[in-house]
Structures are given as structure tokens and as C-alpha cells.
């Protein structure tokens, strides 16, 4: 429902915030950490989209990346390990007016939080998840994560990781109701921003994996990709990523990919070298859980109380009259 006068007044004094106004405390990430690039892109997005800080919330679990909410001057919830998504879903259900972002790492999301991740994809609630994937547990000083490459020597795998790494993209694309999957690399900040912008505008669960460097524990992990632009496969499309002339000149390995084509998206997601960067899948028609479950009732205190009493009455014995009779009265 739109009232013309209300719209006019709302537009009359539109809030505008500079990027600095979204900056919370000073990041404690190591210098050179890829998290900084994601933080800068997100602050830029908040400014450009004129997101009101009091209407924006960042939710995280545990890990380096999960310090993200501290560095945003918005609402934030630094949760417990692997449980960022249930918290974010609860927020979205009760406050659908808020812009909800989730920051999680490869350990937080793909290991202890894997169950929540799978079901969050299936729920398709309107929020944007950033998977900060540096292939290692950094906060606990170099332990192998589910996405660590096979053979990686770490404190938990001193003889090298035994298993092939888990691919977060193919897993996400295999879940029912998936609606938005994209991949970025932190060393191309322009693309990080573009993808986050598209993810933000998608109405549904946007899964953005951002491959990032950990200069402390895996300093050379991505050097080969960093120094050879041909090892980055840019996925472009009129409904997907548009490269600027500058990037087109540098990143010549490009492929047009229709983000509605899920089969092709799954094929591309399986490629690890070159790294596919862009929007792999985007389907705006997938129903959203919070809308499917939307109650037409206004949640007044009286309504909530009546609901609670009705539930509690199921376990209560009324000596004189039953709950049905009381309700009728």
C-alpha cells in the first residue's frame, strides 16, 4: 500500500551517509587480509544503496571473518560457531523490514554450520551471505578447514590434508530452492562490489563465496592466480556481471553465461582452475520462506498472548470448564 503524501515526505529528507559513517571499530585483521577488501566493498554498498544503519544488521558466527559486524556501524550479532544463519533467519522472520547480511568463514559455514547452510539455501529467505573462504582456520592459527586443498600442512594436518576440499558452490547449487550463487575473489575489488550489489538486490537467499587470501598462514596460496589474469574465468552476461573496460582489458579469459542456466552453472562451479568469477545462478522466482509463512494476523500483544494461552491450555486441566468454552466466552 502506497500513500502519495507519505512517499513525498519520506523522499523529502532522504538520509545520506558517507562511507565513514558505516565504519565501526578499527579492524583487527592482519594487514593484507582479504577481509579488508570485503569490508570496504560492503561499506561502499551501504553508502550507495543509502542503507539506514538502524535498518541494517550483520550476523556472524566465529572466526576471523566473523569479526565483521564489529567493523560495521550498524546493528550486528556476533553469534556462536556455525550458528550465524539460524540467528539471521530469526531476525528476518520477526523484522522483515531489516536488511540482513551474514558473514561466515569456510570453517564456520562449511564445517560446524553446514546443516544450517544447507537449510538456509532451501528456505531462500531474503538475505545476503558472504562466505569468506581463505581455505584455513586463521583465528585458531592455521588449522585445516573443509576447503583446505589436499596436502595442506597445518597444525591439525601435519602430514598434509588427506581429503579433497569441499566445493561450497557445487553444494549450494545442489540444494533445492537455490536462487542466487556467485563467486568473487578479494583481489578484484570492483567485481566484489558488483557481485555484492547484485546479491543485495536479489530477493531471496544470495550465496556469495569470496575467495580471499590469508597473508599470515597461506601467504602464497593464490599468487599464481593473482599474477596471471588468464587463470581467472570471468562469467559475463547481460543479466549477470558486466565488466568495466579496465577489467576487460586485463581479464581476457571471459565466457558468457546465462545465470538462469543451472546445469551450466553446476558445470562451471566444478572448475577450480581457472577460478570462475561472476554470477553462476540467479533465479528470482523461487518462493521465499518468510513470505510463504507470513501470517495475515497483526502480532499485537493480545494476539500473542492468546496464542500462548491457547498452547498452554493444551497442557492444563480446567476443573470447571474446558478451554474451548473459555475461548468462546
Amino acid at each position: 500500500m502506497t500513500i502519495h503524501a507519505t512517499e513525498c515526505v519520506m523522499r523529502m529528507h532522504d538520509d545520506h551517509h558517507d562511507l565513514e559513517e558505516y565504519q565501526g571499530s578499527i579492524p583487527r585483521w592482519c594487514s593484507g587480509c582479504g577481509d579488508n577488501a570485503i569490508l570496504a566493498a560492503m561499506q561502499k554498498l551501504c553508502r550507495n544503496e543509502k542503507l539506514r544503519p538502524e535498518k541494517t544488521v550483520f550476523v556472524s558466527g566465529i572466526g576471523c571473518s566473523s569479526r565483521f559486524p564489529h567493523y560495521m556501524k550498524t546493528y550486528g550479532f556476533h553469534g556462536i560457531h556455525g550458528r550465524a544463519l539460524p540467528v539471521a533467519e530469526g531476525i528476518k522472520l520477526t523484522r522483515p523490514d531489516l536488511h540482513v547480511f551474514v558473514n561466515t568463514g569456510d570453517g564456520d559455514c562449511c564445517s560446524i554450520g553446514a546443516a544450517h547452510w544447507i537449510h538456509a539455501v532451501r528456505y531462500n529467505m531474503n538475505m545476503t551471505l558472504m562466505l569468506h573462504d581463505n581455505h584455513v582456520y586463521g583465528l585458531t592459527k592455521k588449522q585445516a578447514s573443509p576447503t583446505s586443498p589436499k596436502g595442506l600442512r597445518s597444525n591439525t594436518t601435519p602430514r598434509g590434508a588427506y581429503l579433497d576440499p569441499l566445493n561450497p558452490l557445487t553444494i549450494t547449487l545442489g540444494v533445492q530452492n537455490v536462487s542466487f550463487v556467485a563467486q568473487a575473489v578479494d583481489w578484484i575489488p570492483e567485481v566484489v562490489y558488483d557481485i555484492l550489489e547484485k546479491a543485495f538486490h536479489h530477493k531471496g537467499f544470495s550465496f556469495v563465496r569470496i575467495i580471499q587470501r590469508c597473508p599470515e598462514f597461506l601467504p602464497d596460496m593464490f599468487d599464481a592466480w593473482l599474477h596471471d589474469p588468464l587463470r581467472t574465468l570471468m562469467l559475463t552476461h547481460e543479466k549477470g556481471l558486466h565488466l568495466s573496460p579496465g577489467l576487460t582489458k586485463v581479464y581476457k579469459n571471459q565466457k558468457e553465461h546465462d545465470p538462469l542456466n543451472i546445469d551450466r552453472a553446476r558445470e562451471l562451479a566444478s572448475i577450480t582452475d581457472p577460478i570462475p568469477v561472476g554470477i553462476l545462478y540467479h533465479n528470482p522466482e523461487v518462493p521465499r520462506y518468510e513470505e510463504t509463512r507470513l501470517s495475515p494476523h497483526l502480532r499485537t500483544p493480545e494476539y500473542i498472548q492468546a496464542g500462548l494461552e491457547s498452547e498452554l491450555d493444551k497442557f492444563t486441566v480446567w476443573p470447571d470448564e474446558g478451554p474451548a468454552a473459555r475461548a468462546a466466552a
Binding site: 502519495h4 503524501a5 507519505t6 523529502m12 579488508n36 583481489w187 575489488p189 570492483e190
Partner: protein, 767 residues
């Protein structure tokens, strides 16, 4: 039916001439002179095409209607026949048993139809019950079982109405209520949400106040079970000392309370816990609707203002210095039509039964305003006597032409129809009621009470068939042009002047005769005994070639003395066929009716004069062009004449060829102007230090090294802020530590810097 076919001549020449003169005299003067003409009054004549519809209760047709109780506006009206058909599909499968059930249920339908025709009223469930009992009294057990089974499957219920004088108003009001319910649901819910949110703001303020933290309040909010275990005085003291004292500013509180008061006391919607009686929006005159609108407009303004303030307050975006002045000046001009459309619309049902349309001026005023009003003008009589008798028919001249006039207002949804067709046009009715602007529904009921023997349904249907009250719809929301907005498609055979139907009867030799008969305006007028004086019966013995069907007479204008007299085929109470000749006045009225119909046809794109003229012009141009081409081909086909230029001689290139021929190579003097070069981007020279800022990943390496030399721009990406604020060594170190190698140190500015030789070597990969 007994009769005599048209065209059988009796050859009594002398007598015939005299009789013809009498017929012509009647046709020209309207006076029945002589003995050969019969007065039709008292014979109970009706047009031949209406002969099969003597008893409507035995026929299955749209009426009666069931005004259903449902949530969906689209399902709010059903035809009883359709309800029964759907029911039969469920309870009467193919086979003997199914057929028996079918017969029983159809019998019940007939019984209900009969009850409604006798004036029975009530919901379908009650009528079903009554009809079942009547049938059961004289029926078998099987019948009772069939009807019980069908009753159990019946899912539709609601008032049953026949085609009666109040049918249009009841149907429209019923549909309007559904549309209103859907339309206002969102606004009503929004008001309730705002009330809840504003109350929460006040409640939050209260619980943070001293009163909210008092021991009594804390005790009251705790419950009784363990209340004695707590020291609420201590709790109150602790909370009062610990919590910040940030009370709601008084101005804001007053503003919120004022907005809440307006939201709670509004009378446009039934509010939860509201104490005020809601406004009524159904009126029986335009003046009353207009008066109500003028009285309610300030309330609408206040409500919209309160909603806007509430939105701002809930969002925490009300800025006193900005918004106060705006709301001080807030008035009716601040609203847009779409804002008004959020409120319940106004429904005006006017009955123009007899007498002049006194409310016409009010109607036009209402339709001219931006008021979201839906007006039903119900016309019971379109053959009313003129207020000034000038010897002409007054049909369609006043109330019945309102719909055509309203189309001129351009933004009004207009629908005209007979009440007999309302069920068929239910989607158009709903669309008009849902249309965000004004709408006019002009409906002819046929309930003048002047058509002896014919039920209103037949009179209304006859008016539409005869083009006396054609059906049309003008929907401004359907598109920008007339082709999208206007439609005549709901009329029978809209491409013809008069609809034609086959009429079969038995002649004197008991042979079946069949012929196509047009239903004209004259047929419609002939149903009305008030105009019987314009008709005269011709005895069967005089049926001859001098009589022509009315349709043929209307087909061409006759100047001078007519040689043939138009006649109408009618049947009497005993189903005997009559030929009735018609006087000139009635023929002229029919011609006027036809001309009006032609006007509507043009609007509806049928025989549009503009289109036909354009077509003729284009056809002529095409023919001329073709003729030219044919001539050119013929000329080419002729043998070459000596006068023609020799083949070898170069002929001058035709202008078109010259213009399309490749242009000669540009000469030195005609060199194309140099393309404007792209704006020169100054590439940083390799001996100048630089950063590829767009590629910066904000990793802080360089800014940690020297935050006076390196800084972040508005996108938080690094650039060289002050090259003089650091050394060449710092530039090289920054380049080395940059994760994405986007810092280029260039050449040193200070050639005396220590260790320069080594630094230059280290800088080489980043130049």
C-alpha cells in the same frame, strides 16, 4: 402455431387497390380508416420472435441469480442453472442412476425458479428446502434420496433473485461490497499496524519512566505465583538508578498521541476495538453522496496526515524542523486521486423510473469530480411519454442516453446493459467496480409495468436486441485508444443493423415454414400497449405483396407516396400469427434508433467512416499505382522504336542509382575529418610514483607504512596523498608489501637518498 406464409397473393385486383390505399393511409397518418384494418389492442400481441418465451419458469436461463457468500469477488454471483450444472457433474455420473438424479435435481431447479417467479425470497438453502418439501410430497423415496445427496454436495449459498425491478441495485451492491472488502483490507490492516507500532513507542517510553519502574508496576507485570519472593521496591530502586533516563520529548509524545487518536477514531473502516460507527458509503442520490464526500474529505485529510506522521515516527525519521511546516500546510491539495482511492468508494443507486431525471446535474457533477464514486442509474422505462409532446417519440432521449454522455468525460468507466444481460457481463461489472476512478452503470430493467404480459426479463432483453438499449462498455484503463477502450461485442450480431433470427411456423397447409426475421426497434415498441395506436392488424385475406417486412422498409428511405407498407409479424395469445402494419412515425423512430446504433458502431470500429474513407483513398492510390506499373510493363513489352537511344550509348544514371552508387574515392582535398579522439587519459609516466586505485583491496599495508603519504579515497581505496610526505624507500617497501602489486614507485625524487642504488633495483619489478 397456425398462420399463413408471407407472399401468398389473393388476386382480387380491384379490391386490393382500395385496401392498399387504406393501408398506405394508415401508414402515413396513423389513423385506422376503413374496415380492412384491425385494432391490435386486446389481442395480447407480441413480436413473433418472442413466441417461444411464453413461460419463463419452464426455461433454463441466467436467472434467477445466487448472490453468493464467498471471499472472492469473482465468485460472488452465480446463475442458478450454472450452480445446478456444477452440482450435477458431481452427483449425477453417466448411467441410469445418474440420469435419474439429474431429472430429480432439474425438477427441483424448476420448482425453485417457479417459487422465485411467484415472489419467494431468501437464501438458496431455504428455497431448496421449500422446493424439496413440495416435490417430496408428491414424489418417490428415490427423489428424496437424490435431492438429499445433491443438497449435501451444494457448496454455494446466498440470496436468490430473479430478474426484478431491484435486481441491478442488489447485484451491484453485493458485488461492490466484495470489491470494497478487498480494496480496503490493506489500508485497514495498515492502520491497525500503525496503531500497534505507535502504542509500542509509548509503551517503551512508559516502561523506562519512573512510573513504569515503580514497585507497583513491576509487581503488576510479574504475575502472582512467585511475587512474594521478590523485593520489588529494591528492584525499582536498582532499575531507576541503573537505566538511562531518556524520556520521549513532550512534543513528540503529543504528536504520537494526536496521530493515535485520529487513527483510532477514524470511521472509514471498522477498526479493532473502535468505538465509532463506520460511515455509510451507499446512497440513493448523487446529492447525498456529494454531501457525504464533502463532509468526509477533512477526515480523509486528517487520516492520511496521521498515517504519514505515524510512518515517520515509527521509522524515527520525523524531523521537527523539516516536517512541522509541511504538516501545518497539509490539506486536501496534498492528496492525490490514488490516495482517495485507498478509502472506501461511494456507491450511488438511482432509479429513474418515470418522470424526468432530476438528479442529472448532480450526477454529472459527481462524475466530473475526482471522487471515487460508482453510480448505478437504473432505468425502468425507455419508452416514456415525452415531457413536451411534439408528436415524436422521446425514447432514449434523456436518462437512457446518460451512458453515452458520460463517455465524453473520458476518465469514467461506463457500462450500459439491460438487466437481462447482467450475469453475462458480471466480469465487466467487477472491473468497473475495481476501476480506481469513477464508474457509471446504466441499466434498463424493463420493469415499467406497461408491457402487458411480458416479464421484465423479456422486455429488457428485447430492448437490447432491438438496439433500443444497446450494451456497451467504455473502459479507460484498457488502453489509450478507442479500439482498446470501447466495445460493443456484448450485443447480438453487433455488425448488423438489426439482429436476425430464424423463425419457424406452421402454415395453413400444416407445412413448416422457416424464414429469417429481424428484431427491430419496431418489434420492441410493439411490446408496449401504449403505442398500439401506431399499429394496425391486417386480416389474413389481405396479406399480399404490398406488405413488406419492417426491416426492408427501414433499409431505404422512401420519398413520396409509398407503394409498400411495412409490417410486423406478431403472435397473439392463441399463438396465431398476425401481420401488423406500422405507421410512419414509428418507422421514423426506428430509423433514429438505427442511426444512433450506427454512431455506436462507428465508435466500436464497425463501419467506421474515417477508416472507410481512408481505405477508399488508399485503394484508389493503390489502383493508380498498379495502373502505372501495368502501363510501364506494357511499354517495355513493345518493340524498340528508332527514336530510342542506341543500346551502347551510355544512358544517364537515374537519380536513385546515382545516389546509391559507390561514391568515388575521396580526393586529397576531401579527406574525411579526423575522428574526434577519445578524451586523452593522462597515463602516469613511469618515473612518477602511482597506485592503480580501483584495484586496491584495502589491505592497509601501505597506509600502515605511512598514512601521510598513502590514504584512502571515498571508496576506501588507496592513493598517493602526498608524495613528499615519505621517502623513496617507503614507496618501494609499500610496492613490495602490496598484496596485489598495484603500487608503482617510479623514479626517486631525492637523488641523495641513502641506499638508492639498491632501492632502484628492488623497484624494478614494480615500475
Amino acid at each position: 402455431m397456425k398462420g399463413q406464409p408471407h407472399g401468398r397473393l389473393r388476386k382480387e385486383r380491384v379490391t386490393m387497390d382500395i385496401k392498399l390505399q387504406e393501408h398506405v393511409a394508415f401508414h402515413l397518418t396513423g389513423k385506422r380508416v376503413g374496415v380492412t384494418l384491425e385494432a391490435p389492442e386486446g389481442l395480447g400481441l407480441r413480436p413473433a420472435l418472442l413466441a417461444p418465451y411464453k413461460d419463463l419458469t419452464t426455461l433454463r436461463y441466467d436467472f434467477p441469480l445466487v448472490l453468493a457468500k464467498t471471499d472472492a469477488a469473482a465468485d460472488c454471483v452465480h446463475s442458478l442453472s450454472a450452480v445446478i450444472d456444477n452440482l450435477l457433474q458431481e452427483v449425477a455420473p453417466r448411467g441410469l442412476d445418474g440420469e435419474r438424479t439429474r431429472r430429480h435435481v432439474l425438477g427441483l431447479e424448476r420448482e425453485i425458479r417457479g417459487l422465485v417467479a411467484e415472489g419467494a425470497k431468501g437464501p438458496l438453502s431455504d428455497l431448496w428446502e421449500t422446493a424439496s418439501k413440495l416435490l417430496a410430497a408428491k414424489g418417490s423415496k428415490e427423489l428424496t434420496a437424490s435431492l438429499a445427496r445433491a443438497r449435501a454436495a451444494l457448496k454455494v449459498d446466498g440470496a436468490v433473485i430473479g430478474c426484478e425491478p431491484d435486481t441491478p441495485a442488489r447485484l451491484l451492491t453485493h458485488a461492490w461490497q466484495f470489491v470494497q472488502q478487498t480494496k480496503t483490507r490493506a489500508f485497514k490492516a495498515e492502520i491497525e499496524r500503525l496503531i500497534m507500532k505507535l502504542t509500542e513507542v509509548l509503551r517503551a517510553d512508559f516502561v523506562r519512566s519512573d512510573a513504569g519502574r515503580s514497585a507497583e508496576q513491576l509487581r503488576a507485570s510479574f504475575g502472582t505465583t512467585h511475587a512474594d519472593d521478590f523485593d520489588f521496591e529494591a528492584l525499582s530502586r536498582m532499575l531507576s538508578e541503573a537505566a538511562p533516563k531518556t524520556a520521549l520529548p513532550e512534543g513528540r509524545r503529543q504528536r504520537i498521541e494526536a496521530a493515535l487518536e485520529v487513527l483510532r477514531s477514524q470511521r472509514f473502516f471498522e477498526a479493532r476495538g473502535g468505538t465509532e460507527t463506520p460511515h455509510s458509503f451507499v446512497f440513493d442520490s448523487c446529492a447525498a453522496a456529494l454531501y457525504a464526500y464533502r463532509r468526509q474529505l477533512p477526515e480523509m485529510v486528517e487520516l492520511i496526515k496521521a498515517v504519514t506522521i505515524a510512518e515517520l515516527e515509527i521509522e524515527g525519521r520525523y524531523i521537527d524542523s523539516h516536517h512541522h511546516v509541511y504538516f501545518e500546510e497539509f490539506d486536501a491539495n496534498s492528496l492525490r486521486p490514488q490516495d482517495l482511492n485507498l478509502f472506501p468508494g461511494y456507491l450511488v443507486c438511482i432509479r429513474a423510473a418515470g418522470g424526468p431525471m432530476g438528479d442529472n446535474a448532480g450526477l454529472m457533477e459527481v462524475l466530473s469530480l475526482g471522487l471515487p464514486v460508482k453510480v448505478l442509474v437504473q432505468i425502468d422505462d425507455i419508452l416514456e411519454e415525452p415531457s413536451v409532446s411534439d408528436g415524436h417519440f422521446a425514447f432514449n432521449a434523456r436518462s437512457a442516453r446518460l451512458a453515452s454522455m458520460a463517455i465524453g468525460l473520458n476518465e469514467v468507466y461506463v457500462m450500459q446493459s439491460s438487466s437481462s444481460n447482467l450475469y453475462q457481463l458480471r466480469d465487466r461489472i467487477l472491473k468497473g467496480l475495481q476501476y480506481p476512478g469513477r464508474a457509471l452503470f446504466s441499466v434498463f430493467t424493463g420493469a415499467s409495468g406497461r408491457s402487458a404480459g411480458l416479464p421484465p426479463y423479456l422486455v429488457a432483453a428485447a430492448a437490447m436486441q432491438a438496439r433500443a438499449f444497446p450494451a456497451f462498455t467504455y473502459d479507460p484503463s484498457a488502453g489509450a485508444d478507442w479500439a482498446s477502450r470501447f466495445t460493443l461485442e456484448d450485443n447480438p450480431q453487433p455488425e448488423l443493423d438489426w439482429p436476425v433470427a430464424n423463425f419457424a411456423y406452421e402454415d395453413e397447409a400444416r407445412q413448416k415454414v422457416s424464414e429469417d426475421v429481424a428484431f427491430t426497434f419496431v418489434d420492441f415498441v410493439a411490446c408496449d400497449p401504449r403505442y398500439a395506436k401506431h399499429l394496425a392488424g391486417v386480416p389474413r385475406a389481405l396479406w399480399n405483396g404490398s406488405l413488406v417486412p419492417v426491416k426492408e422498409s427501414l433499409g431505404h428511405d422512401v420519398n413520396g407516396f409509398p407503394e409498400k407498407v411495412p409490417y410486423l409479424m406478431m403472435v397473439d395469445r392463441n399463438e396465431a400469427l398476425h401481420r401488423v402494419i406500422v405507421d410512419d412515425k414509428l418507422i421514423l423512430a426506428a430509423q433514429r434508433c438505427r442511426d444512433m446504433w450506427h454512431g455506436l458502431q462507428e465508435l466500436g470500429g464497425i463501419r467506421n467512416s474515417y477508416a472507410e474513407r481512408m481505405l477508399a483513398r488508399e485503394r484508389q492510390a493503390w489502383e493508380v499505382e498498379k495502373q502505372r506499373e501495368i502501363e510501364a510493363v506494357r511499354r517495355e513489352a513493345r518493340p524498340a522504336t528508332p527514336a530510342m537511344a542506341p543500346v551502347a550509348a551510355p544512358s544517364p544514371a537515374p537519380a536513385v542509382a546515382a545516389s546509391t552508387a559507390p561514391s568515388p574515392a575521396p580526393t586529397a582535398s576531401a579527406q574525411p575529418a579526423p575522428q574526434p579522439s577519445a578524451p586523452a587519459v593522462e597515463e602516469p609516466k613511469s618515473d612518477e610514483a602511482s597506485i592503480e586505485t580501483p584495484r586496491c583491496t584495502t589491505c592497509n599495508e601501505c597506509t600502515l607504512l605511512n598514512d601521510r603519504m598513502f590514504a584512502y579515497d571515498e571508496n576506501k581505496q588507496a592513493y598517493i596523498k602526498d608524495i613528499t610526505a615519505g621517502t623513496y624507500r617507503q614507496l618501494v617497501e609499500a610496492a613490495e608489501s602490496c598484496q596485489v602489486s598495484i603500487i608503482h614507485p617510479g623514479k626517486p625524487r631525492d637523488l641523495k637518498e641513502p641506499g638508492l642504488e639498491d632501492l632502484l633495483k628492488r623497484a624494478e619489478p614494480f615500475l
